[in-house]
């Protein structure tokens, strides 16, 4: 069934929830496999014959040219099967997602770690030892490794931005005539996706058919790019990715190891396994661009915004298109007649920049939401009250109505639960022993998208259902929520619904990314089920609306018939096809939230501890209370990491990350994270899609770090605008203890 909704489309059968399955805190159906180690990830498909192990040799310069490669010693090393060095069969870089193939091998080095050779050996130890014997001679060139040093030469209007530069009204005039203003620069550093599972691939050929077990967020693009790189029709390439050890944007494209494994498997006729080393992940997988955000706010004496501007500079490698959409979460958050949101670009000789969890909002919310906090203080009004006074009636960019927007309810519910009224508006007042105590909040915003998605639902003769789609579950809960959608639609308990994902041979889905996976793939499942419901109703001789489905039975009038009886020994199989429709153009759709945070700042050392954190969210229908809550917790903890620790540091002499591993790139650990409170206030949004769910996966991170930053200011009175807020940035400004 294909449906192109021009009006609210959420499915009545989900609203009614007769089966009582949708929205419940059902345990993950893939949970037992994951907690027992029986879930197999990309590198764990060994096969019957011993595989070959590949080791990628990367450039040890950041900019220049490979002049000569001597691989003779590596070729002669024990256990080595093949060395492919300085060779056109290699590729030079990963690809973000829209390309048809990975970039061809080149001797021109554009980033540190760029592949120069591949060693294949009988064991990983032999491959790595041989790789160390390869000698590469370079001509070293001066690279562009320090983005801020290039800002004067930034391109103010770069091509193909994700969000175009927008300017409405006269921000400069509003600033000049305002009663209160904020005019400040906020910066965020390079960030890494840093999934726990390093990018890994197992590949083998059977005749002209290629099988690739890899760790990917979306299979369709992966199939296209690997087929394109191998020069074979995509029908001959099967991508398998049933379990993905975290993505966070880093697995939206195809990383070099996948193509190198496929190529090497063809060259050797054997199964080839390649995993990136942790320190290679930092360079061969993309980063999130550092950002430089010039934020200006103008307000009248009552605190009504007259202008908002967020003008940013970000960086990218030449030839790559992604431009971090810094202002994405800022565009529609507050009313103000004059508005200006721009992104300028500098080209650098660094690893490519691309999507990392919540492109735009994750970093843009630091600039806007700290600036709002600063404005509230200047006005002498509560930060929540300031936000209330600037809550727009319609989307301030397009003038369209919002499909649903429970942002004010998020503020109210969050303030009540957090005890916001007990916060001191004056910073550096509260002490607990050696700690300054402070409270801060920030808004969360994430745009909602529906992406074309297909799924097949089969009702077997015994009345059990199977859902099949090439969608992935990267920890987001896809297996479980699709079982809940199908079970609710067809009146089946979760145990009677099997979900098969992560196989490119299955109907093409949206993939996991942009927080559109659950809504889009869930809608495809709901649409397939709706057609099955109609066919079952025909067999019952009633209109679909007159038939209830529950616990494997169809109920209409005074009849209650087992589905197996209705099916009469034959399976029913239907493909659902969800697409964005006119509804996506007629309303503005987004998810919302509010973060509240209590921190303690050591009065002597400046050490920051997050003591409490609470988030209230409107993400439409919550498909699974347990997994959606986990998504929010995860995002909030990313916010803590961005506020306090995460910072990719580039050596400005060589262009390499000096902290490309978990020892030096500081993601949060258990001891950094208190108990977190999460609450939902949203209701099913019929405009969003057939399941009424809005973006969730990236909502939790938007604004979370700004709430931490604002709490730090409230605690100790030091306003840091340069993330992360490490103690060296606090210590000089700390009040007399």
């Amino acid at each position: 069934m294909t449906k192109r909704p021009d009006q609210p489309a959420a499915t009545a059968r989900l609203d009614a929830s007769v089966q009582g399955l949708i929205g419940t805190a059902l345990d993950r159906i893939d949970g037992p496999a994951k907690v027992t180690g029986t879930a197999r990830y990309a590198f764990e498909h060994q096969g019957d014959a011993p595989p070959l192990y590949g080791h990628i040799v990367g450039a040890t310069i950041g900019c220049g040219r490979v002049e000569q490669v001597d691989a003779a010693a590596a070729r002669a090393a024990p256990g080595v099967a093949l060395v492919i060095a300085d060779d056109p069969r290699l590729v030079s870089d990963s690809a973000s997602g829209s390309e048809d193939a990975l970039p061809a091998y080149t001797r021109e080095i554009g980033y540190f770690g760029q592949p120069v050779a591949l060693v294949l050996a009988d064991t990983p130890e032999a491959a790595r030892a041989a790789a160390a014997l390869i000698r590469i001679d370079y001509t070293i060139a001066d690279g562009r490794f320090d983005p801020p040093a290039l800002h004067d030469a930034a391109d103010p209007d770069p091509p193909r931005p994700l969000i175009p530069n927008r300017s409405i009204g006269d921000v400069d005039a509003a600033m000049a005539g305002a009663a209160f203003t904020v005019d400040a620069v906020y910066t965020t550093p390079h960030h890494m996706p840093a999934a726990m599972e390093p990018h890994a691939t197992t590949a083998w050929w059977e005749g002209d058919r290629l099988t690739v077990h890899t760790s990917a967020q979306g299979l369709s693009g992966t199939q296209r790019m690997i087929a394109g790189s191998m020069g074979v029709p995509r029908e001959q390439v099967r991508i398998l990715s049933p379990f993905v050890g975290g993505g966070f944007g880093g697995k939206t494209g195809v990383v070099v190891e996948a193509v190198l494994a496929a190529m090497a498997a063809r060259e050797t006729g054997r199964r080839v396994k390649i995993a990136l080393l942790r320190r290679q992940v930092a360079h061969l997988v993309h980063r999130r661009s550092e950002t430089h955000q010039h934020v200006r706010l103008a307000a009248d004496a009552e605190g009504r915004l007259t202008a908002i501007a967020q003008e940013s500079i970000v960086s990218q490698k030449p030839g790559r298109g992604f431009i971090e959409p810094v202002a994405f979460g800022s565009l529609s958050l507050y009313a103000a007649p004059a508005r200006r949101f721009t992104q300028a670009l500098v080209h650098v000789d660094l690893p490519a920049a691309s999507a990392v969890r919540a492109p735009g909002e994750a970093v843009g919310s630091f600039g806007l939401e700290i600036a709002i906090d600063e404005l509230a203080e200047k006005l002498g009004i509560d930060p929540i009250e300031l936000r209330r006074r600037n809550e727009p009636e319609n989307d301030p960019m397009s003038g369209k109505p919002f499909s649903s927007r429970q942002l004010l309810a998020c503020y109210e519910e969050g303030a009540r639960r957090f005890g916001w009224e007990r916060r001191s508006p004056v910073p550096a007042i509260r002490r607990d022993g050696r700690w300054w105590i402070g409270h801060g909040m920030a808004a969360a915003f994430r745009g909602n998208f529906t992406v074309e998605s297909r799924a097949r639902v089969t009702l077997a003769p015994d009345g059990r259902a199977t859902v099949e789609t090439d969608m992935t579950d990267i920890g987001t809960g896809t297996y479980t929520i699709l079982a809940q959608v199908a079970g609710e639609m067809l009146g089946l308990p979760a145990r009677d619904v099997a979900v098969v994902l992560g196989d490119s041979a299955l109907p093409v889905s949206a993939g996991s990314g942009g927080s559109f996976g659950a809504g889009s793939s869930g809608s495809a499942v709901a649409l397939a089920c709706q057609t099955i419901v109609e066919r079952l109703a025909e067999r019952m001789g009633v209109e679909p609306d007159a038939m209830t489905l529950k616990d494997g039975h169809a109920i209409a009038g005074n009849r209650r018939v087992p589905l197996a009886d209705l099916l009469g020994g034959e399976a029913l199989s239907v493909e659902g096809h969800a697409t964005p429709g006119a509804h996506t153009r007629s309303v503005a759709q987004a998810s919302y939230g509010a973060h509240f945070c209590e921190v303690a700042v050591d009065a002597v050392t400046g050490e920051v501890r997050v003591r409490r954190m609470l988030g209230v969210f409107d993400c439409g229908r919550v498909l699974n209370l347990k997994t959606t809550r986990s998504q929010m917790i995860g995002g909030m903890i990313w916010g803590i990491g961005y506020a306090l620790g995460e910072e990719g540091v580039i050596d400005a002499r060589t262009g390499q990350f000096v902290n490309p591993d978990f020892g030096e790139y500081h993601i949060p650990v258990h001891a950094d994270v208190p108990h977190l409170d999460v609450h939902f206030v949203g209701e099913a949004d019929g405009w969003a899609n057939e399941v009424g769910a809005k973006a969730a996966g990236e909502l939790g991170i938007a604004g979370a770090g700004a709430a931490v930053a604002n709490a730090i200011y409230n605690a100790c009175g030091v306003r840091v605008r340069d993330m992360p807020i490490t103690l060296d940035k606090l210590i000089a400004g700390l009040p007399e203890a």
Binding site: V35, A39, P124, A195, G246, A671, V673
Partner: protein, 176 residues
């Protein structure tokens, strides 16, 4: 060489450079133990050697000829979950699942260390063995989770720890 893993015997001749982690994953097919960093920085490869938790990426296989190695596969199966495995499912103590075997093996080792009265960096005294949330967080901080299921992991571990303590108390009362 001879290895005892999850009570089973394996005869393998590993390269002297092979880590215990790669022995498990690449030689004996126990892929439940995960490689996240190969540096001892993330804890995804945590297993139990003679009952104590260890980063299996930081120890060579040839050092463990006579040891008892327990991996996630040795704790329980999908049809017969270990109490911690069941608690992780119940509390959603994971998302992508990649750090999970290491978190669970680490928790098994950690609970045993706490039961023996071993203090941690945050212990108030050497006598008070209360396993507070702060203690659990400190003792589990060697196991990273990028999905950031930390609060749920702590809930899962605390539930099992409290249950185990209740059982011990019941056992002590019964013995008395």
């Amino acid at each position: 060489m001879h290895f005892t893993i999850n009570g089973q015997s394996f005869d393998v001749e590993p390269d002297i450079r092979t880590s215990l982690l790669d022995l498990l994953r690449e030689h004996v097919g126990l892929t439940g133990t995960k490689k996240g960093c190969d540096h001892g920085q993330c804890g995804a490869c945590t297993v139990l050697v003679n009952g104590r938790r260890i980063n299996s990426c930081l120890t060579l296989a040839v050092m463990h000829q006579d040891d008892e190695v327990t991996t996630i596969e040795g704790l329980g199966t999908p049809d017969d979950l270990h109490p911690l495995q069941a608690a992780f499912v119940r509390h959603d103590g994971f998302q992508c699942g990649y750090c999970t075997p290491g978190q669970i093996c680490s928790a098994v080792g950690m609970l045993d260390e706490a039961a023996k009265g071993w203090p941690s960096h945050v212990s108030e005294s050497l006598d008070d063995g209360a396993l507070t949330d702060e203690e659990i967080r400190e003792r589990m901080s060697g196991n990273l989770c990028r999905c950031s299921a930390y609060p749920n992991i702590v809930d899962a571990i605390r539930e099992v720890a409290d249950g185990a303590r209740d059982e011990r108390r019941v056992g002590e009362e019964a013995a008395a």
